[in-house]
Structure formats: structure tokens, C-alpha cells
């Protein structure tokens, strides 16, 4: 596996700078008003230069940097930025993860458009820079832990690559405090006279296990850059909708169709732009002085553009029979997932056909009922009754949490 790690300023800080562009270059502290007994969430470079650190109390941060501007964290702005990062990286990598200060992408295999890993990593870095509008430091390595350290040792606008097999060599001179383990363990290692990861890597797994129990084996693997952390994509659970208020309530079917069509065009364009497809579609008619009526369904195939969305909506419109003039129409999509057929899907590890079958089975269950598509499993304690010899379970893609 090859992992790309991109380090960037905290998304909370970037969201604040987007909101208040005049604060660029100024000392900015994210977390809230200094009177509040809250910790610093993020700080700009100028604030950090004055001694402000993440996690310290806001009041203390104010003492370090009296000229700083304090801005509360904007969760919505952060969520928007994170979604933009995911969408941007998804176009080039099949599996991505976006954290507050780091983004990860899967660089395993080859990309059809880029001749080598360096070009591919550059493309990802350029895209991320375009999304966040800030220089980022990038590291590429064979594991999450090493990629993260490579990114830390890199500089903004630079890519640090650790070749496969060179992980232990790269880690050897690094100090012990880079290990993501309990500080007590690091302190004990230092007490043994071990001052760098290379020294820890020289020990055997049995020695480490004897001293540190189960953590010893993890330590042994980490010191060699063999962690199996991987990338943890966050499943998309978003729902979007588009509402159109009609110019006067009407019962004219032609106008309602046109309204839904307009919503489908807008939503479809948004789905296409973010390379997503909707697993469920709903249509709502808001009726004057009465309760809204709605219909929803799971389309035969996920809708990823305006045409597919319009086809799915058209199928639902037959179920809606408004008894009074309609004031507004609303088209909603939910269960958004990366659309199939993207270039990046070619890079997805595992059996693509099997994953597609399982995804289709999942969609059929949503459409026709949870018991319509199942996988039988032999019971461990079968007993004498034939119906106790097996159980049913829903099929899932191996390695993906649903």
C-alpha cells in the first residue's frame, strides 16, 4: 500500500480566514473569546510565533499574544471545507480521508493519467492546494505512520517520498516522541538508553513484549514503519435537496413537471461536480394550507447526473396526486456515495465485480426490503431442526464498514 499524507493548517483556521480575509497574516486564535475557559483549537503562524500553542487555555494565549484576534470555531465552515477536500481528492484517489490538519489518499497501484507516483502525488497536492488555497506539506510512504512523519519532515509546497523498503531507514534517526504511544512507554524506552527509533527497531519483538506487553509488538512494528493503520474513509451520509417556490400555487401538471425538472438539473449538476451518486430520491409537493405530500424511492441504479435524477423523479411523480394547488416543489437526494465508473475506481483494491454485486444487493434491499437479498451462513450449533442449520446475514464488502 502507498499512502499520501498532506499537512495543512487547521480547517477551523482556514474557514475563519475565508470568512474574514482581512485577517490573513495577522495573529489569529481559534477557540472562542479569551474570557471563556476553553482551549486553543488552532492558531495562525503569527500567533504561534508569539508563543501560542494548541491546547493551552485561551486566557493564557491572550497573555502570550495580546494583539491576537480571537475567532470562534465555525463547525459548518469546517464541514464544508472537509467535504471539498474529500471531493477534490476523490477524483484522483479511490480512498481518501480528511482530518482537521491532515488529509490522506491511497496511492496504491498506478494511475492511468500519471506516469509515476511522484506525478500522481503532485497532482493530488496541486488539487488540495487549489481547494484550500494554501501551501501544503506532503509525505508519501508505505504506511500511514511513515507517511505522516514524512509530511511532518517536509515543507509547505514540497513532497517527501519514502520509497518502499526504506521506511526503517527513514525512521531510524527520528526521536522517540514521534511514536503514537503512551508517553510512559516513551519515557521507559528513554530510561533504557534508547534515544531514537533505530535503537528501538534493533530490539526483538520478544524483548519488547516482555517489557511492554501487547504494546510491545505494536512498538516493534511501528519502529519498522509497518503499521497497518491504512486510510479511514468517512462514509458519506449527506442528504441534499433543492426547493423551488412556484410563482403562485398551481395544479398544472406541466408546470410541476418543469419545476421538478429544474430541481433535477440543479441537483444533478451538483452530484456530477462532486462525483457522487444518490441511492435514494424523494419528491415533495408543498401544498397551500395543507400538509405536504411526498414520495421517495430507491432508483434501479444510483443517480449521478441530471438525466438519471430526472428519470428517477419522473417515476415518483406518478405516485403524487395533489388535491390542492402546489406552492413549492422539493427534490431530495440521500445516501450519497462515490459514483461508479470514475477513473479512480480502477485503482480500488480487491475484486471490483464482487464489490459492485454487493453494492447492488445493498441497493436491492433498500428498494424491495431487507429480507429480499441475503447470504446464508451455517449455524455453529445447528441442532436437529433444518431451519436451525443456517442463519441469514446481509452481504458486505470485505474491509468496508457500513
Amino acid at each position: 500500500m502507498r499512502v499520501l499524507c498532506a499537512r495543512h493548517p487547521h480547517l477551523g483556521l482556514l474557514a475563519a480566514l475565508r470568512r474574514y480575509p482581512e485577517l490573513r497574516g495577522e495573529p489569529v486564535i481559534i477557540g472562542g473569546a479569551p474570557e471563556l475557559r476553553l482551549p486553543v483549537v488552532a492558531a495562525s503562524e503569527a500567533a504561534q510565533a508569539a508563543g501560542v500553542r494548541v491546547g493551552q487555555p485561551l486566557r493564557q494565549a491572550q497573555q502570550h499574544c495580546p494583539a491576537a484576534v480571537f475567532v470562534p470555531l465555525d463547525p459548518d465552515g469546517v464541514a464544508r471545507l472537509r467535504a471539498a477536500v474529500c471531493a477534490g481528492l476523490h477524483r484522483l484517489s479511490p480512498t481518501v480521508e480528511a482530518g482537521d490538519q491532515e488529509a490522506f489518499g491511497d496511492l496504491s497501484g498506478r494511475h492511468a493519467e500519471y506516469s509515476d507516483e511522484a506525478a500522481w502525488a503532485s497532482a493530488l497536492a496541486r488539487r488540495l492546494r487549489g481547494v484550500l488555497d494554501v501551501e501544503i506539506a506532503v509525505g508519501v510512504a508505505g504506511s500511514r505512520f511513515v507517511a505522516r512523519l514524512a509530511a511532518r519532515s517536509s515543507h509547505p509546497g514540497r513532497i517527501r517520498r519514502v520509497r518502499s523498503g526504506d521506511e526503517a531507514l527513514f525512521l531510524a534517526p527520528l526521536p522517540l516522541d514521534v511514536l503514537p504511544v503512551d508517553p510512559a512507554i516513551t519515557a521507559r524506552l528513554a530510561a533504557f538508553g534508547l534515544d531514537c527509533l533505530g535503537a528501538v527497531a534493533g530490539l526483538g519483538p520478544a524483548d519488547l513484549q516482555r517489557q511492554f506487553g501487547p504494546d510491545g509488538l505494536r512498538l516493534y512494528r511501528l519502529a519498522r514503519g509497518e503499521d497497518s493503520g491504512g486510510i479511514h474513509p468517512v462514509p458519506a451520509q449527506r442528504a441534499w435537496s433543492e426547493r423551488l417556490v412556484l410563482d403562485g400555487a398551481t395544479g398544472d401538471l406541466e408546470i410541476l413537471l418543469r419545476g421538478v425538472r429544474q430541481c433535477a438539473t440543479a441537483l444533478g449538476g451538483r452530484l456530477t461536480a462532486e462525483a457522487l451518486a444518490a441511492g435514494e430520491v424523494s419528491v415533495v409537493f408543498e401544498i397551500e394550507e395543507a400538509e405536504a405530500i411526498s414520495a421517495s424511492g430507491v432508483p434501479a441504479a444510483p443517480s449521478g447526473n441530471a438525466g438519471e435524477l430526472w428519470t428517477a423523479a419522473l417515476g415518483l411523480l406518478g405516485e403524487l396526486e395533489p388535491q390542492a394547488p402546489v406552492a413549492a416543489v422539493r427534490l431530495g437526494v440521500s445516501r450519497l456515495a462515490p459514483a461508479a465508473g470514475r477513473q479512480a475506481d480502477l485503482l480500488r483494491p480487491g475484486d471490483g465485480a464482487h464489490d459492485a454485486v454487493v453494492a447492488t444487493a445493498d441497493r436491492l434491499r433498500s428498494r424491495f426490503g431487507a429480507t429480499t437479498v441475503r447470504r446464508p451462513r451455517l449455524a455453529l450449533d445447528p441442532g436437529d431442526l433444518p431451519e436451525r442449520r443456517f442463519t441469514w446475514e446481509a452481504p458486505v464488502v470485505a474491509g468496508v464498514a457500513r
Binding site: A353, H354, A359, T372, L378, P382
Partner: protein, 266 residues
């Protein structure tokens, strides 16, 4: 060929193009999935069940015909090499029996659309085939709905099977509806030829298979196979495990290969 016929052919070719008239050749070749059953691979079908086509196991009449047991045996065999879907419209599938037949249940997906929901079952089968399911069996049964309700879904399934090169085996009760007869490239008519008894117990069912239609070869071949019922608890005492896991540990042996006799082409 007479001169006048040659002249007529030349005129037609010059008028409508060289592709307008072509000499008939051997039947169109299709890939085949070997069942490892000599009768099925050699006598009834050339090389095995055709891929990209719909194979129909049709009951000859009312009563037991062995078509569902044969379908389940084939599904069990297929599950050992790839993902397998089983659309249970007949409502008779016992996964334990499938395991006794040697199926790898991890590779089996059972689709239960509900009784007499032929259209829904065929739509679901089509969706799975279009997604890449390489082998799908459809057990039709129950009350047969009007063909107008499901013939479009069947045509869509046949199209998806052809597009993806999948294996599709449909078991249908008698009387077989016209859309099914039309969609199938290979129709094997199943007729129960009597129970196979051993030590006073029923050990299997003898089934006569007749190739009623074949787009891949000449129809009319006939053979009889013995569908031997697996004995689920026979080895349980020996290995101390649920017997249903045993067949997967054994070499690949289809429980239907005992050929009682092969008749000549009719």
C-alpha cells in the same frame, strides 16, 4: 450450382452488396461453463452450459421433475468458483441442503422476492447480472403470473446475461410459458423417471433430460441422470463437526454425476 442460379446470385450481390447473401455456416459459437458432469457437458450441451445465454430447465409435467434439485446442484458447483445468485421464486430453497450439496455459502446470494413475484425476481436477477454476478439461477414456481407482467423483465435479464457473458439457468414449472421458451438458448426438459432406492430408503431421483431446443447444436439428445440426495448427517459422528461443513473440505464432486444411461440422439 446452375448457371442461372449463379447469375441470379451475382445480380443480387451487385444490387444489394456482398453481405446480402451469405452461405449458412455452423451454429454460432458461445463460451461454455463446464459442469463436470459428462452427460451435461458432452451429450446434451456442447462443452457445458452456454455463457451469455439463458438455459431453461423445464418440467415435463406436473409433479416432481428434479429440475430444482438439478438447479441447486449446479448452483452449488458454481459457488465454488465464483459469486452465485439464486433467485428463489419457488420458495423451496433450504440453504442447509445447498451446503450439503457442497456449496460455498460465502459465495451464495439468495434472492427472495416473495411468492409469485416473478417480475420483481427477474428485475433483481438482472440488476445483479448487470453488476457483474457471473452465475445466476432462477427457480420459478408458485402461481404463474400472466406473462405480460414479467416478459419484459425476462427480456432485460436475457439482454444483461448476453452483455456480461454470464451463466443464467432458469428452472420453470409446467406448462412453460412462451416468453421463457423464446428467451432460452438451451431448453432441457426434465422428466422424473423414478426414485432411486437403497436399503429400503429413497437415495435419489432419476431424471430424464431431453434437449428440446438448442441454438448451439442440434436438439433431440436425451440422457438420464441420477440426482443423488446428499446425506447431511452421515459423517457428523465421524468428524465431530456439523456435517454441513464437510463437503467443502472434500474434492469437488457434484452429487449428480451418476449416469444411469445415455440414449442415442433422437
Amino acid at each position: 450450382m446452375s448457371d442461372s442460379l449463379s447469375a441470379a446470385l451475382a445480380t443480387l450481390r451487385s444490387r444489394y452488396g456482398p453481405q446480402a447473401l451469405r452461405r449458412g455456416g455452423p451454429p454460432e459459437e458461445a463460451g461454455a461453463w463446464s459442469t463436470a458432469v459428462p452427460v451435461l457437458d458432452g451429450v446434451l450441451t456442447p462443452g457445458g452450459l452456454p455463457s451469455g445465454r439463458v438455459t431453461l430447465l423445464a418440467a415435463a409435467g406436473r409433479g416432481p421433475s428434479g429440475r430444482l434439485t438439478l438447479l441447486q446442484s449446479l448452483a452449488a458447483l458454481a459457488s465454488r468458483s465464483h459469486d452465485t445468485g439464486y433467485v428463489d421464486l419457488a420458495g423451496t430453497l433450504d440453504p442447509g441442503f445447498l451446503a450439503d450439496l457442497g456449496a460455498d455459502l460465502d459465495a451464495c446470494l439468495v434472492i427472495s422476492p416473495g411468492p409469485a413475484r416473478w417480475e420483481r425476481g427477474l428485475v433483481m436477477a438482472r440488476a445483479l447480472v448487470a453488476a457483474g454476478m457471473p452465475w445466476v439461477g432462477v427457480a420459478l414456481g408458485g402461481d404463474q403470473p400472466r406473462p405480460s407482467l414479467w416478459e419484459h423483465a425476462l427480456a432485460a435479464l436475457a439482454e444483461a446475461v448476453a452483455k456480461r457473458g454470464a451463466i443464467c439457468v432458469v428452472a420453470a414449472p409446467a406448462p412453460v410459458a412462451a416468453p421463457l421458451r423464446h428467451a432460452s438458448s438451451l431448453t432441457l426438459v426434465c422428466t422424473a423417471a423414478g426414485w432411486q432406492r437403497a436399503n429400503g430408503d429413497v437415495a435419489g431421483l432419476r431424471v430424464r433430460l431431453t434437449t428440446a431446443k438448442s441454438k448451439l447444436g442440434a436438439p433431440g439428445a436425451e440422457a438420464t441422470v441420477l440426482l443423488r440426495y446428499p446425506r447431511p448427517y452421515a459423517t457428523a459422528e465421524v468428524v465431530g463437526l456439523p456435517s454441513v461443513v464437510v463437503p467443502r473440505l472434500q474434492p469437488i464432486v457434484l452429487p449428480i454425476p451418476d449416469v444411469a444411461g445415455v440414449a442415442a440422439r433422437g
